[in-house]
Symmetry: C2
Subunit: 383 residues, 2 copies
């Protein structure tokens, strides 16, 4: 029996379409965001390219784009840097078709990286309220199919105010997505983040921490985006959260703070024991902390975007199955388009990347599967 | 029952001293190496400091040393950069006392980082033969307590010759320790490494791959050595091996190549699924390879220096219990010295770092424990 069939049998479902999952890691570029990206000439941007529009957002892609521009023989030449971007990124009906095809009852939408980080601060403050209002409207009109993580400007004072506004006025926005740069570009361990953490906790909202900038980027250039995404992203989360833990800031925040780590926490579930050991053997660091690092790490939530069973099992063994939520990372990692059909609807295809994050649960108990597929998410997204 | 008691019961042993383990990750600074380090004024070096000699080897430590030198009020002031270094690093009798106390029957010694990497190439070539001869003598006279990984100069041509000499003349040297910089400072994916990999395979020797340089170092400075060692080291191994895999070089080397990865493979066992997925979605990379990355990763050997059970279980789930060997990382991560006793013999104390790598096996079956503690190592170190 295939892994997928095993999961369906265990869940008592006839088809993937019936899985009734809640997806906490799924992105959207709102139409307002597409307008911003299309108007830009520097990364991040969207522009016409070979076979349709292309999205260029990663530091590594900027270099590729510049090389292509230098070698272009005509100003009208299309570019191949970045990746194809279609309706799956901004069209709500496309997202819904993808969700129906893959058994996702509810998606908790978040703006994809790099969020508002590249805009001037005044513009971030202005746009954050518009985006959050957009998200609220989109979710409110979705008949229960969408909830959302909002955005905050990269400024600790105004971010706190926006969290308060979200909490009081936008009931479908259940938290905010946050970059590892934190609110002031100085990381999650910047002491000025404290009031933000406290306000998030008071409001019973969730921080969805997500990478964008990469760590170790100087090592990946020869290998396309594969190593940047596989290693750079996961190292970035691992570093940012380790710094937050070692800073001692969490000793000044209630232990009920809801922090959700993307991509199963990077490498943290595997490295937590070594991190504990290294801290135990560094008295200057250990004395500043009330607990070993793993104690803090076990308070957090992790998505199950792990792509193989040994990693998901490691995460369960480390943090417990009640802290793990299903995710897909849609619309990234799409199925390859058939060359013959430019107008193919990606949302009606099987997304291997999504199915594999179902398949890695096949050998877990029904209870663990159900907790990860939907029950934990309901609890986390409730108030 | 404590985890240690549970392991002893499962193994049918009365005491840790009886565990009869083989330690494949244990370092030594041979007296010849100490002479080199004591004569140096730049990192790496050994010099007098507060409470005895101090070892300064890490990039992060160099900066600390320079700051102390600038702020010193007297030329005779001791320095506190680096770490205390005593007989546990070079004294064979001290290593044996530590081994007896912790139930280690055989240690497969390797020179600790940064090996010979910092010496001019001519000096590396000269010293490598001397070190390997030293190791052979030390092991031959040890009544079976020691085997060794040798060293090679950072030059693919002379390294191949030294591998041939080791294979034919030094029966106790069962492989070589190698830095992630590879033989030409261009990494493990440098095509000039091919002949070295082939010669290692022909000789049925083992490459013990070990980090030193760190990845992401710009993020760790405020947190002592804890993050450099916990994350920088493990990221370094992860990056170097991922590059080797994605380069396609392994398709040109027999799949019997014996590559042993330090620190349980960095973060690779956890990230292998994501690495597969990122390669699958990057056609340019995927087309160059005969297999997905995890296929290559499963050929390798990994030490069990993992520090918590979820990581060791992940490693077992990923690679299988027949590819994992016990290790301690001795003499790094020593027990804290009591301030009152400068002459305390560290080797007679309980090493928490060593015991924790026993304890993480407590819940495994006796067969898995025995495979990791000694059986796999016997097979790998045999010819």
């Amino acid at each position: 029996m295939s892994r997928l069939a095993k999961l369906l049998t265990s869940q008592g479902k006839a088809s993937v379409r019936d899985l009734d999952a809640i997806d906490l890691h799924t992105h959207v570029y709102l139409p307002r965001y597409m307008d911003i990206l299309r108007a830009r000439t520097d990364v991040p941007l969207v522009r016409p390219g070979i076979g349709g529009e292309r999205l260029i957002i990663l530091p590594a892609e900027k270099q590729q784009m510049e090389q292509e521009q230098h070698s272009a023989t005509s100003h009208t030449a299309g570019i191949s840097a970045g990746r194809p971007i279609g309706g799956e990124y901004w069209d709500v009906s496309s997202k819904l078709r993808y969700m129906d095809h893959h058994g996702i009852r509810t998606s908790v939408l978040s703006l994809a990286n790099p969020w508002l980080d590249f805009l001037p601060l005044e513009e971030q403050i202005h746009q954050a309220t518009l985006f959050n209002d957009d998200m609220e409207t989109l979710c409110r009109d979705s008949n229960g199919r969408f909830l959302a993580f909002g955005v905050v400007p990269q400024d600790s004072t105004t971010a706190v105010k926006e969290v308060q506004r979200v909490a009081s006025e936008l009931p479908h926005v259940r938290g905010v997505i946050l970059s590892t740069a934190g609110l002031n570009g100085k990381g999650l361990d910047d002491p000025e983040m404290l009031e933000f953490y406290r306000e998030i906790d008071r409001a019973r909202l969730t921080i969805f921490l997500h990478p964008h900038y990469g760590v170790g980027n100087e090592h990946y250039a020869e290998y396309g985006h594969a190593l940047f995404l596989a290693l750079g992203f996961t190292f970035e989360t691992t570093v940012a959260v380790s710094r937050l833990v070692l800073s001692g800031l969490l000793d000044q925040v209630p232990d009920t703070l809801r922090l959700l780590l993307a991509h199963s926490g990077g490498a943290l579930p595997f490295l937590a024991g070594r991190l504990d050991s290294c801290v135990e053997h560094d008295a200057a660091i250990a004395q500043k902390l009330q607990h070993l690092p793993s104690v803090y790490l076990k308070r957090f939530y992790y998505d199950a975007v792990a792509y193989h069973e040994p990693a998901l099992q490691c995460l369960i063994d480390f943090v417990g199955s009640d802290k793990i939520v299903f995710g897909t990372d849609h619309p990234f990692f799409p199925p390859a388009k058939k060359e013959s059909s430019d107008n193919e609807d990606l949302s009606e295809l099987d997304w291997r990347s999504t199915l594999s994050n179902y398949e890695i649960m096949a050998n877990m108990s029904k209870e663990v599967q159900s907790a990860i597929l939907r029950e934990n998410a309901k609890r986390l997204m409730g108030n």
